[in-house]
Symmetry: C2
Subunit: 130 residues, 2 copies
DNA sequence: TCCAACTTTACAATTATGGGATAGTTTACC
DNA sequence: GGTAAACTATCCCATAATTGTAAAGTTGGA
């Protein structure tokens, strides 16, 4: 299977497949005589694994660890669980942070007339906070 | 006031002050004879404005627009409000996305034994989603 | 005067992805 | 068989915001 087919059936762009290979997330691909990369079913599975992990917000560093665990049949599920929980906690932290921003913004926007005059609590807040 | 003092009293690092100047967010700073940048009260206020906007998650492009509005005494508050609401909506969108990730992860983690055995619903999910 | 602490500029790294250029290869069609 | 479209390869650049580092010049106090 050529790279564009692998991309289509994994949901990872050809550009990214090459990139993941370059940074060592994927092992160097065997080339055919024409120097084209060649992909089989197992590579497609790896790419889908990466794609799903990306969709869940994992960073490439975590994905590398998850791939190692996946490949390791002697893995301990608590290692996987720890990675998942740590990432979930980080997501929760970011969510809280963003909720704080959004709530502040909504509060300020609610207090803003939104008319043709210049007076605006939003600008005032930005300008006056020490 | 030298740059490190401006940094200390605005909460924006010296590095970032120079960067904001370079990308045009701040006007070119008047230099003293020694080529050192010199800051006064009004510059500190601008820097604090930027810092507060960053704390609310605005991107530098939006911050540029907000600074223009702030400087423009003939501004219309609805322009400010529109920026704030658009950013709040974007935050909400990202929050939802991340909540989805987190909830999926927590659900999978809950179903994972987290013991010494390899079986793990998290890995299974990553490996099996098409 | 000398040294520490500062400032300057310039360049690189980070994270993950996309865009483009150029050169070589395959494939489909005539 | 030849030609053109479509593909692949590699390389460099760009994004957004921030930090780090290095080299060279400046200040200020002992």
């Amino acid at each position: 299977m050529k790279i564009s087919e692998a991309a289509a059936s994994s949901g990872v762009s050809a550009k990214m497949i090459r990139h993941y290979e370059e940074i060592g997330l994927l092992p160097p691909n065997v080339r055919r005589d024409n120097s084209y990369r060649d992909y089989g079913i197992s590579e497609i599975h790896e790419l889908r694994f990466i794609r799903r992990a990306r969709d869940l917000g994992f960073g490439l560093s975590d994905i590398g660890k998850l791939l190692d665990l996946w490949r390791n049949k002697a893995r301990h599920s608590f290692d996987v669980k720890a990675l998942a929980r740590a990432h979930a906690a980080e997501l929760t932290r970011k969510i809280s942070e963003m909720e704080g921003m959004r709530d502040t913004l909504e509060q300020l926007a609610k207090a803003c007339n939104g008319d043709n005059r210049p007076d605006c609590p939003i600008i005032n807040d930005l300008a006056s906070k020490p």
